[in-house]
């Protein structure tokens, strides 16, 4: 394999990794503050992507065609709408189930996920079919041998990294971040310290969902196509990445995201090279087996939860 192709694989893998990491960060945030897994997260991403697409169509219909301005409005509307949706979900569906077994929250959000997915399929015009997503980023590309670096991909990669860095700064440097960390560590004590528990939870859900919406729009910009079921797989992968990284830990989620992307790329590329007679479809079997083996090796993920359990 020449170096150009290798570069291409790395570029593909990085892009996937950024999107996975953004989804995983959401899972890990929710788990941090409420100790719940919100399975509808992937579908919030889908709704975000479709909200972005609808905004774009609306803007074009209004005769507003500057790509940069369009991009800005698309992202703004998608993230804002999903932030509100996320907070609403937390307020009316997740918080009421606080006192019941955590698995019930999981069931509820699972059902919510299918409801959201079905809504997109049924109520977005022709929603059951794949939709083209506009190319709002410059398409120039730089060819270096067999490696072609496209400007839009590079921008997306940077944008995703910037978003993750932004969330990290928010969590580690602001008062809100401090409150989120406090609630994550010990909800009761945080309350005693005068932190409005419910508000922090709602804001965290808004933050995570906005991030998912951004990931959805990026996913659309990258593949130039979205469909109602993108969230299903991204949700499962994002959840897995968050767990593999170590739930509740942002760095873990990011690492997990990139790990999954690497695993997938390697599975598709290296496996057929190593075992030419094995059908390439076995790559998924390989990936899932790797996850199981990994969890047996690191039972609490790459970066374990910091506070040890007091016995």
């Amino acid at each position: 394999m020449n170096i150009g192709l290798f570069g291409q694989y790395v570029a593909n893998g990085l892009m996937l990794g950024v999107i996975y990491a953004m989804v995983a960060v959401g899972f890990t945030l929710f788990f941090g503050v409420l100790d719940v897994i919100k399975f509808s997260h992937g579908d919030v991403l889908t709704v975000g992507a479709f909200a972005g697409l609808a905004t774009y169509i609306g803007l074009t219909a209004l005769g507003f065609t500057s790509p940069w301005a369009q991009l800005f409005v698309v992202i703004l509307v998608a993230t804002a709408a999903m932030a509100v949706l996320g907070a609403l979900i937390a307020r009316y569906l997740v918080l009421p189930l606080r006192t019941s077994p955590p698995l019930n929250t999981l069931l509820l959000t699972l059902m919510l996920g299918s409801a959201l997915r079905e809504c997109v399929r049924l109520f977005y015009p022709q929603g059951a079919n794949p939709k083209p997503f506009p190319r709002l980023l410059p398409q120039d590309s730089l060819a270096l041998g067999s490696f072609s670096l496209r400007l839009d991909n590079a921008l997306l990669l940077l944008g995703g990294l910037a978003a993750i860095a932004g969330v990290h700064l928010l969590i580690s440097r602001t008062r809100l971040g401090l409150a989120i960390r406090a609630v994550a560590q010990d909800g009761e004590t945080a309350r005693i310290m005068g932190i409005d528990f419910e508000r922090v939870v709602l804001l965290t859900f808004a933050l995570g969902s906005a991030l998912a919406a951004l990931a959805g729009v990026m996913n659309g910009l990258y593949y130039n196509e979205i469909n109602f079921s993108i969230g299903l797989l991204l949700g499962v992968i994002g959840f897995s990445a968050a767990v593999v990284g170590g739930l509740g830990n942002i760095y873990g989620a990011i690492l997990g995201g990139f790990l999954f992307a690497a695993l997938q790329t390697i599975g598709a590329v290296a496996l057929p090279a190593a075992f030419p007679q094995l059908p390439s479809a076995y790559k998924d079997v390989f990936a899932f087996a790797a996850v199981i083996a990994f969890m047996a090796w690191r039972p609490t993920g790459l970066i374990a939860e910091r506070s040890a359990e007091r016995v």
């Binding site: 299918s114 076995y282 087996a289 047996a296």
Partner: protein, 364 residues
Amino acid sequence: MNLVAIAAITAYAVFLLRAESQAAVLGLIVLAVAGVPVLGKTGFLHKLNESFEKHKKTTLIGVLVALSVLVALFYDQHFVMLMLASVLLYTVACLGLTVQFGYAGVVNFAGAAFLGVGGYASAVLGPHLPHLLVLAIGGLLAALVGSVLILPILRTRGHYAALITVAFGLLFRTFVEVNDALGGPQGMQVKGMNLFGWDLNTGLGEASFYANYVAVGFALAAAAFWLVRRLERSWIGLSLDAVRLDETACAVFGIDVARWKIFAFTFGNFFAGVAGAAYAMMTGFVAPNSFTFGDSLILVSIVLLGGLGNLWGVALGAAIVLVLPEKLQALQEYRFLLYAVLVIAILLVRPAGLIPRRARRYFA
């Protein structure tokens, strides 16, 4: 009181199964959705649960009579019998999962995979071995396949363990899909059940042949119910509860946590395997598409919806989760949306499930 309740539930079931038009189905569902919170608020459900526990004999007889009434009314209707048999077989599988989720606290998101192991076992072995043996082997194989996961599951907890089973469920499905020896994506035909020369695929007289499967399903469900109930009441059940509630305390008191987790996991998978084998013989077909992550989640919904750890809840959950989407067929492409919304509504009014398991009582 519980006889009245059982009669009411049976009557409701009869009406729901009879209901054909959209309006009638929706009306009945609205009635239930409105009725459950009222019953819950007035403490009726709680009392009913207590009473079920207290008058075990009458409850049992009541349920038997109710089931016979259903069979007597619908014995010649294939579709109703098929649904009834499916509910019973899913109850068997979910009773197994209840031991895992509800007692030992071992989560398992690969239920459909173990159902699938049983199903494929009956597809491969059905033509060669007596079918009662095939059912047992299906269960044993599921337990055996599950034992691959024992090490990672023992090392992990909570959501980490959940991820392992999620990965396994996806792995199983992909594996059978790409593996041509097991029929690949096209699946395999399964022979109908034949017990000691009795071909279950021929109906007796006017009766639907599915009524035979209802009988088998009922026998299996009753056996599973009895076994799990005995287990719950025994010292094993106590140990399992202890493992779920506090592993550290368990270890301190000399309860071997690993041993009980392995026991619960294997026991549950065995049930799923047996149910899967019987279900495959009934539907006559297995294919990877029937054992997706979504199908595992269906099993989990059954376990949770009825109330985690409550055996009657499992049966109720199975009935709701399997029959409701079928009755919503009239809504065609909208049915899944409405189904999801209904489950959300149920969880909001009954956050701990329809009839949650009550705490053990020392003075009973």
